[in-house]
Symmetry: C2
Subunit: 344 residues, 2 copies
Amino acid sequence: MAEVRNKQVILRDYVTGFPKESDMNIVESTITLNLPEGSNDVLLKNLYLSCDPYMRILMNKDLPPELSNRSYSPGSPITGYGVSKVLESGHPDYKTGDLVWGTTKWEEYSLVPATQILFKIEHTDVPLSYYTGILGMPGMTAYAGFFELGSPKKGENVFVSAASGAVGQLVGQFAKLHGCYVVGSAGSKEKVDLLKNKLGFDEAFNYKEEPDLNAALKRYFPEGIDINFENVGGKTLDAVLLNLRLHARIPVCGMISQYNLTQLEGVTNLPSLLFKRVHMQGFNVSDYYHLYPKFLEYLLPHIREGKVVYVEDIAEGLENGPAALVGLYSGRNFGKQVLVVAHE
Amino acid sequence: MAEVRNKQVILRDYVTGFPKESDMNIVESTITLNLPEGSNDVLLKNLYLSCDPYMRILMNKDLPPELSNRSYSPGSPITGYGVSKVLESGHPDYKTGDLVWGTTKWEEYSLVPATQILFKIEHTDVPLSYYTGILGMPGMTAYAGFFELGSPKKGENVFVSAASGAVGQLVGQFAKLHGCYVVGSAGSKEKVDLLKNKLGFDEAFNYKEEPDLNAALKRYFPEGIDINFENVGGKTLDAVLLNLRLHARIPVCGMISQYNLTQLEGVTNLPSLLFKRVHMQGFNVSDYYHLYPKFLEYLLPHIREGKVVYVEDIAEGLENGPAALVGLYSGRNFGKQVLVVAHE
């Protein structure tokens, strides 16, 4: 039984406020690359790890009960979505050599219960890293949020915040494919250019250069917003509420602007929900994974034909993981932030 | 053509902040009790007028476009829901002597387009005033909000704010009939007693005596709230957001706490929508009137058998209208506030 090095990204302590690289440690532990006798678990070699905004929430000490079973523990590796190769399996659904995606740990090798694996990867003519993004959790999130909760109709007006991120860039492209008018906001000139020139958004703006978000939205949506795909919350949401059309929908995918605040921002314009008869729904992709086969059937041909593109920001090596993860909250990433542990 | 006196309640000027009796004038104009030649309109004798929280919004100068066609005009009578008798009709759907309910003006006699009449009153074995409340707009609001948007299941936990009001008292009784646990909040000891002893709420509390609304809700809902029927907004909503169960529903019927504020309160706990995967929906009863026959079929037997009761606070005479209406915003009313113009 060969013991090998198992580099890990460990949470040092619970986090308050903005996370820093130093909130995590890189340690070298060891692991035996054999499944324990009689185990039903699966031994994984981790290839690509996903950096996702929700991970900050799991660094909090006190979590809502719904999330507490997923809380990170100081001294242990953090967890997240990832693409992995099965080295050995005690579970009949998986066998050595399978490529899978699901929840794994931020380390080179992980022993996980089979229930943490979400899907076997069947299509490898696209980059494997895509299963942390466009073909993984963020992709399914964009798909379920936009189509299932957004109930889009051709010609409707769609606003996407954090529009160049892992989810936002897809929502915008889905909206265009569906015949909608779509405007995105992002935090730099380069991201705005990306949205307009590569991702096909009708318009885009840099929210950091808009002192009056309400005025900015009025400029781009003189007739109001039918679907607001909510990724950021706070001030942006407050401005959106003043610019909704009757019967607007707000799928609430995230509120990244609030995750690092010890005092949350107050949203004042909620009476608009009433006047505009708005449907606002918080959701978690885990309620929608039964749609994954339908989602692949829809999206894979678009990817192969180049009708949907996906921008990844790739960091190499576990030791660069903390910086990659922390960068999400300052908007340092350009597109979906992926961390490569090993290429195969 | 006999000219008769037509007493009216006139808006003096647009209102800022809390409305005062003096924002309205009682004037005596005259009206000819004949339909103009060739008119398709309906001449009404107004019997019962409904005092409803939304009316404050229509006193604002600047309204969202969705509401601007209903805005009150300084110098003209205010409008609202009411029960009226048809004196003369130029429209084939109505004839002299019909009792109807719908939108009318705060005056003794009104000439209205037939489209403002919502329903003919067919059942007169219940008090006519009920068609301003339990069998009118507030009743349909409670029914549509609770059953259509709340999607209640037996055994679920329901919270109702402004629970002794026109809508709240019904939501609580519907919840009990449906096998739910229901707690209401109201603004006085008498109202709390009413909720517990007459209206069948499982528990009730006086929000004015709860310095920590979050703690109060935790006390009554140790396992969380499945349906929050939102009538008040602001601080109460913010506390509710901390006490929701997974997949909770929030039908947003009103936000009365915000209608008189020039600076709206900020609601900080919206990330709960995400963590609890909450469905929050603003609605307007006008989208649900097609359910009115089904609603009557459900509710009339319950009223006749005494299984659903309804508390009205009855003011007599148009000259007492301004005080009755203004009283809604300080919670002076005890149950549904009705204004009697004439008993028949």
